[in-house]
């Protein structure tokens, strides 16, 4: 093309942020508030859950011709607020050595925070120092005490409900009042007490009370996964990007797929970002004094690995060679069951908030177990809004229980008797899912595929990831626990307990969507890419504020820690800038 040219915006921004999810949104919020001129690059489109053209909340299943079933565009169902998924047209990724890794991406303002479970758990003191406890992996270069003040600020800024329980590794916080437990959750609490399984109010970033004039309070529709039109749940788009935009200090560029971090050949400093306008396929460049990556753990690693130059032949900020390595996702295993005591239950509205109202933080000591790291248990159940899949597989269930007349019932069936079974079983299902910590390993990694590019011509990621017995034995323990809980409460577990050959039912890596660790921080530049401020050892004006800097995952969800650490790194940027060091 003779008229091909790279368009460069003349402005030199103070900061360019790549990605608008939890980390990027918080950086945009903090930096614009401090007066920095920011360019925020987002690979996807705008999204505002209060704008009718995006709203899926409060819709009925029959408003979807597929009754809420999932599609390639909405892997979590037709009403879910994530644009993207595991399989995005023209944006492939590959695997090697029989790896089965799944990579979920949201292409929209706020990224994956629009549809997530809002489970907002602080890491505890032990989560930053696992190597000191069990000799595996690495300690973080920071401790809980370093992060605690920022967790406090995030609690106040965004809002999280829960209860102070004085637990050793699940810190007390600044909590909003939690919703009361639902019926099955009360049963679980009573039951688990007998088993010694701590079961306490969940900790979700949903506003049970309004905290400011910009966001409403929860009205209990249970649909946080569809994103909230009252902004009563946390998403980066609603709670961070929007306020950042109100400062007029940020230019948000949508449909901007970052290709490379540009550097100055002489100084080695980052000078900007080259990106593809995904609508026009034009190459564009934006210049900035500081570059902050927040594209997600794997996408940020990809960006660094693709930013090769004579000075940085192994990719940018990668003299240690750790970029892409130590990739780890939370472990996951789950089981469902039926509680016969709940057959024919009285109907009332028990939607509640999104997700569960109670959960079980890790309650055991790994020193006494055959696996090194813990997990928490999330619960589900109740009289949910019916959706695609309702009653699916009843032929495996309705023969397990006597009918209303007390007589054995034959599995399957049809007609009025079958129709009545669905009514009878409604609201009697429960489920539980373990979410655990995997051990970060050098040989679980993403790297640049030497052969493939995406539709923008950007080399794609190739994953290599294997579970070890640390994770398998943990999953086995999860399943033993699920059966123990269900037996104790008189519930009938459904399906079969997975075997060793099935990795004890472990979800595939990536499926829990908690990838972390690919650009880890540390004090030693030979063994880490970032210092304790999430600043590249090799490039002082380059920062990473998504989950890539995590040294270990914790048996927690990563979002609250991404937020606290991004706030901490952003404040550091402002201080360094004021001190003339950046």
């Amino acid at each position: 093309m003779s008229d091909f040219q790279i368009k460069t915006t003349p402005t030199v921004y103070d900061v360019i942020i790549v990605g608008s999810g939890a980390g990027g949104g918080m950086a945009a919020y903090e930096l614009t508030k401090a007066g920095a001129k920011v360019c925020l690059l987002e690979a996807g489109q705008n999204f505002d859950p209060a704008d009718p053209k995006y709203i899926t909340q409060m819709k009925w299943p029959y408003q979807s011709p597929r009754r809420g079933a999932s599609t390639r565009y909405r892997p979590f169902g037709d009403f879910d607020a994530a644009y993207g998924g595991w399989d995005i047209e023209g944006e492939p990724y590959t695997t090697k050595d029989d790896t089965k890794f799944r990579w979920f991406r949201s292409r929209m303002l706020g990224g994956r925070t629009n549809h997530w479970g809002r489970i907002s758990l602080r890491f505890g003191p032990q989560d930053f120092k696992r190597k000191s406890i069990d000799g595996l992996g690495e300690d973080w270069p920071i401790s809980y005490q370093d992060v605690a003040p920022f967790y406090d600020e995030v609690d106040r800024l965004i809002g999280v409900f829960g209860t102070n329980e004085n637990l050793p590794n699940d810190p007390d916080s600044i909590f909003l009042p939690p919703p009361k437990p639902r019926l099955h959750e009360m049963m679980l609490q009573k039951n688990n007490k007998k088993l010694g399984i701590t079961t306490i109010p969940s900790r979700l970033s949903i506003l049970t009370k309004a905290i400011n004039n910009d966001r409403g309070a929860c009205f209990y529709c249970s649909q946080c996964g569809r994103a909230c039109m009252a902004y009563a749940d946390f998403s980066s788009s609603s709670c961070l990007c929007k306020p950042a935009m109100k400062t007029n200090n940020v230019d948000v560029v949508y449909f901007a797929m970052a290709r490379e971090v540009l550097t100055d050949a002489k100084t080695g400093l980052a000078t900007g970002i080259s990106y593809v306008d995904t609508l026009t396929m034009e190459e564009k460049t934006v210049k900035g004094k500081i570059v902050v990556l927040a594209a997600s753990a794997c996408e940020s690693a990809r960006l660094l690995l693709n930013s090769k130059s004579a000075r940085f032949p192994e990719g940018l900020a990668n003299s240690s060679g750790v970029v892409g390595k130590y990739l780890h996702d939370s472990t996951g295993a789950s089981r469902g069951g039926i509680v016969p005591m709940l057959f024919d239950r009285k109907r009332y509205n028990e939607d509640g908030t999104g997700g569960m109202h109670v959960y079980s933080p890790w309650w055991l000591d790994n020193k006494k177990l055959d696996f090194p790291r813990g997990y928490h248990i999330e619960y589900w159940g109740g009289m949910d809004m019916p959706a695609y899949g309702f009653g699916w597989g009843i032929e495996e269930e309705n023969g397990l229980f006597p009918g209303r007349d007390g007589q054995p019932k034959e599995a399957g069936g049809y007609g009025a008797g079958l129709k009545d079974d669905y009514r009878r079983f409604y609201g009697a299902y429960i489920g539980m899912a373990g979410r655990g910590e995997a051990v970060a390993r050098e040989d679980n990694y993403c790297e640049i595929d030497p052969e493939k590019v995406d539709k923008f011509g950007i080399p794609v990621l190739r994953f290599h990831y294997k579970w070890s017995d640390y994770e398998r034995l943990q999953a086995k323990h999860m399943h033993d626990t699920f059966e123990q809980i269900m037996h104790e409460m008189g519930a009938v577990p459904l399906g079969k307990k997975p075997t060793a050959e099935q990795d004890y039912g472990l979800n595939l890596p990536g499926e829990i969507i908690h990838e972390v660790g690919t650009i880890r921080m540390g004090d030693d530049p030979k063994r880490s890419a970032l210092n304790k401020w999430q600043q590249a050892h090799d490039v002082k004006n380059l920062f990473v504020v998504d989950a890539a800097p995590f040294v270990s995952q914790g048996d927690k969800n990563c979002t609250w820690t991404i937020l606290a650490l991004s706030m901490r790194a952003s404040r550091h940027i402002v201080e360094e800038r004021k001190a003339g060091k950046l």
């Binding site: 899926t56 009925w60 029959y62 011709p65 009754r67 009360m186 239950r345 009332y348 599995a411 079958l418």
Partner: protein
């Protein structure tokens, strides 16, 4: 998508709509919950928009413009879903809740998963009817249909030669349940009370008492 083409395509006019005021009434039967108001009808969306992206709008429009099942197959599906979920004292039948149109949509939405199992299963069913009664499934009597259904509706009976029919019937049962219980009729029957702004204050006192949790 043209609503009239859709209705013509699935041939419900000849089966269950006799004597009714087609197409408005047919639309109500097909999509009872979203029967459009006259103004909406002019814009011709088959379904209300609910935050669709451009990709999704295009994909759904394409699906609605296509017809997968033949008229005969749609008639068979309609009979079958009403055997699975009939009208009773609580609520209407699966076809009244729009289940046949839902199954037609799902077959096009997930072709790999559904098209061959459903088309093949319907054919298997007709073959059974012809072997036993020398007519297709929709042509035989209610009692004759039930005779066949009894052989495939109970997976644990494991009647020889019926295993493929059992798998097909399981799929039909599951699709019928999904379609019925997510319809307006089904949700009302089930007694789901939510999807409205409210305050949550825990289970009602009588429920707590009932389960000894008061």
């Amino acid at each position: 998508m043209k609503r009239r083409n859709l209705l013509k395509g699935i041939g419900l006019g000849s089966l269950s709509l006799v004597g009714l005021n087609v197409p408005a009434k047919a639309a109500e039967l097909l999509y009872p919950a979203i029967t459009p108001t006259p103004e909406v009808e002019k814009k011709d969306p088959v379904f209300e928009q609910f935050g669709r992206t451009e990709h999704e709008k295009a994909r759904d429009a394409k699906i609605f413009a296509e017809q997968f099942f033949t008229k005969h197959e749609m008639q068979t599906i309609t009979v079958l879903v009403d055997i699975i979920i009939p009208k009773d004292t609580h609520s209407g039948s699966a076809s009244e809740a729009g289940v046949p149109a839902f199954i037609e949509f799902m077959a096009k939405d997930r072709p790999e998963e559904f098209q061959t199992p459903l088309r093949g299963g319907l054919s298997w069913l007709d073959n059974q009817a012809k072997r036993r009664f020398e007519k297709t499934f929709i042509e035989i009597s209610d009692a004759q249909r039930i005779e066949i259904v009894e052989d495939i509706a109970y997976p644990n009976r494991k009647k020889p030669g019926m295993s493929q029919g059992v798998v097909f019937f399981n799929l039909m049962r599951n699709l019928t349940a999904s379609g019925f219980w997510t319809s307006k009729i089904g949700i009302q029957d089930l007694g789901y009370q939510g999807n409205v702004p409210n305050q949550w204050d825990g289970p009602p006192a009588d429920v707590l008492k009932q389960y000894g949790l008061g």
